[in-house]
């Protein structure tokens, strides 16, 4: 089990290009770790078959510290441990047993005996994390043991500035999630949203776990409806700062804002095509008739796709680029329709509820989520775009609106508006795509229109 013999590969940092850009807004979690190494080749492969539906029970005792830590590194280590545990717990892949649950065990210091003790609490896996300090740098060594065989199945070493402890934890968590579930983890992704916490509505970003919430715009006007360019480097959004609602781009590396469509009285609800080259949006023509338009990313080549006397708005481009979902009141009440990206082959998707809006596609393009009003207020609904079968994923508790999928399709963001003694409050929540395991991500001000970034590669 010597470390040197197990170290086989140094992983090249695939995100070093983004890291080198100064002041990258999304990377305020910090640059990637300076080094990460594979500590061992998996000696055994855990049998995954048939396990997709239940969680792995993972023991995660308190972080071990080797040598003394300075106060800054000590607090970074605490942050790292907390972030790692939260990421694994929220992933839906693991049922994490922390120091509290494990405190009933009297560990002996002998692996054979201790592994048996962990197993006695029905744990299948053990995560041992060790932290030490080296020339002001934080070093994390993490090993995941298969408790049945007692072998290390995943081992990693990370080294980086203590200031990026959260990012180191996210990176390791994503590695563990990928190994045990076969899917890319969300820990390093970001969420864009709008918030009025500064008394003006501005566009914000946060990490996928709700940490690190920071404003991207400071127009002191109304700025809203952010949408990711699938390249992850810019957002389209709507702002009133020049008078009427217009569409702008903000580069997340430089913070630079560029107007896209500013002529006319109403340009709203931008949605990028999956290649990032075009945008669909709603634009008012004539006497206040919103229609769906598309244009190039820079605002050129404007084309009108819908021609109805009803309101047509809130387009969402499908992941395969061939279709656009949108909301139309052409039959009287707002309902969701899908047309192809040239504006032909229109079909209605929603039939239940008297008010449906805000379609967002699943990454595989088979489903849409939207806000559906079937009784007094909205609930998040999901519909199969082929069979058109739909079901509700929330059940009241407030008005549940503006849902959108995580890039892996396993999570859904949405907002919930509730009336409290102090008036109404709108907050962002995340839940499993099946509707359970709900967590609140925001608390300050009112928050709206959350959208998840793609994976950060």
């Amino acid at each position: 089990m010597t470390r040197a013999s197990k170290t086989t590969a140094t992983i090249l940092l695939t995100f070093c290009v983004l890291w080198s850009l100064p002041g990258a807004a999304w990377s305020q979690q910090g640059p990637p770790p300076e080094a990460q190494e594979q500590l061992s080749d998996p000696e055994v492969s855990v049998v995954l078959e048939g396990r997709q539906r239940s969680r792995f029970r993972l023991a995660m005792p308190a972080l071990q510290v080797e040598g003394g830590l300075g106060p800054q590194v000590r607090s970074a280590a605490e942050q790292l441990e907390e972030t790692l545990r939260t990421d694994l717990d929220r992933s839906g892949v693991f049922d994490v047993q922390g120091p509290m649950q494990l405190s009933v065990l009297t560990l002996t210091g002998s692996d054979d005996r201790d592994f048996e003790l962990y197993r006695s609490l029905r744990n299948e896996l053990l995560l041992r994390a060790l932290v030490r300090q080296d020339q002001g740098r934080l070093i994390l060594e993490g090993r995941v043991y298969d408790l049945a065989s007692g072998k290390v199945v995943l081992g990693k070493r990370y080294r980086g500035d203590p200031a990026i402890a959260r990012r180191i934890a996210h990176t390791f968590a994503d590695e563990i999630i990928l190994y045990f579930s076969g899917r890319q983890g969300l820990a390093l992704t970001s969420i864009a949203f709008a918030s009025d916490r500064s008394s003006f509505k501005e566009v914000y970003l946060m990490d996928s776990d709700g940490a690190n919430q920071r404003p991207i715009t400071a127009h002191k006007s109304i700025s809203m409806s952010p949408e990711w360019n699938p390249n992850g480097r810019e957002l389209a959004y709507v702002s009133y700062y020049s008078g009427s609602p217009s569409i702008y781009l903000v580069d997340l590396t430089s913070g630079r804002k560029t107007p896209v469509i500013t002529t006319g009285s109403l340009n709203i609800s931008p949605s990028f095509s999956p290649d990032g080259k075009q945008m669909a949006f709603a634009r008012s023509i004539g006497n206040g008739n919103a229609e769906i338009f598309i244009c190039n990313r820079d605002g050129s080549n404007l084309q009108q796709l819908t021609h109805s006397s009803g309101i047509d708005t809130n387009p969402a481009w499908s992941p395969n680029k061939r279709e656009i979902a949108f909301t139309s009141s052409r039959t009287g009440s707002p309902q969701i329709y899908i047309m192809d990206a040239e504006g032909a082959n229109l079909r209605r998707v929603t039939f239940e509820g008297n008010y449906n809006d805000g379609a967002a596609w699943s990454p595989d393009g088979t489903r849409i989520v939207y806000a559906s009003r079937r009784t007094g207020s909205f609930d998040v609904a999901v519909a199969d775009v082929v069979t058109l079968e739909s079901r509700l994923l929330t059940n009241g508790g407030g008005s549940n609106e503006t849902p959108s999928f995580s890039p892996d399709g396993h999570k859904i963001l949405f907002t919930q508006k509730r009336t409290t003694r102090n008036g109404t409050t709108t907050q962002i929540f995340v839940m499993d795509a099946t509707g359970g395991n709900r967590q609140q991500l925001t608390t300050q001000g009112n928050n709206s229109a959350p959208v998840w970034s793609g994976f950060k590669n």
């Binding site: 109304i222 008078g243 609602p245 609800s269 206040g288 707002p334 805000g358 609106e401 008036g423």
Partner: protein
């Protein structure tokens, strides 16, 4: 002792002679005139001079700054909001009556550039309300045009549910938020 008695005598003589000297001056004289003069002075002080503020109040508020003009137009009932039903943008009879008065004001003040804001209550979705507010503002603008108001100086903008008049979750509040609101936003050529 002799000296002391001499002084006493002299003081007494002086006092008696002073009494006789004062008496002849105490005759009825022009005293009432002095009193009258004093009264006149008091009257003059109490007379209010008209302050400059009064002069301003009678001036035309619509020649003042835009904020004053907006407040005055609404307070004097020359401009008023029009209200809509939930998820609707058609103008009800009372809305048309209100717009006829607004049109009168706009005819009397062709120098004003107007902004019509379309607003919605919180019950719809944020994105759809932006498009609905646009309909409300433009339906209002179209009706004014049908009354002969030129479109040029009128701009319509939707605020969706972003700028509610009232923030309680009840119909008593919601109906006030489903409105088209008028703002004098400038003067033509100015």
């Amino acid at each position: 002792m002799y000296r002391k008695s001499l002084v006493t005598v002299w003081v007494g003589v002086l006092a008696v002679s002073l009494l006789f000297l004062g008496c002849p001056k105490k005759k009825p004289a022009p005293a009432p005139e002095v009193i009258e003069l004093q009264e006149t002075v008091v009257e003059e002080v109490e007379t209010p001079t008209p302050p400059a503020v009064i002069v301003d109040e009678v001036e035309d508020p619509f020649s003042e700054d835009l904020e004053t003009a907006n407040i005055a137009a609404y307070e004097m009932g020359l401009l008023g909001d029009v209200y809509f039903d939930f998820d609707k943008y058609d103008l009800k009879p009372e809305a048309r009556e209100r717009l006829a008065k607004n049109a009168e004001f706009m005819r009397a003040h062709p120098e004003f550039e107007m902004l019509i804001e379309g607003h919605c209550d919180e019950r719809g979705t944020e994105e759809y309300n932006l498009a609905l507010g646009d309909r409300r503002a433009n339906a209002t603008k179209s009706y004014l045009m049908s009354l002969g108001i030129p479109a040029g100086p009128i701009e319509a903008v939707s605020f969706g549910e972003e700028r509610p008049q009232c923030r309680e979750s009840s119909e008593a509040c919601w109906w006030r938020n489903r409105r088209a609101h008028f703002v004098i936003r400038g003067r033509q050529g100015g």
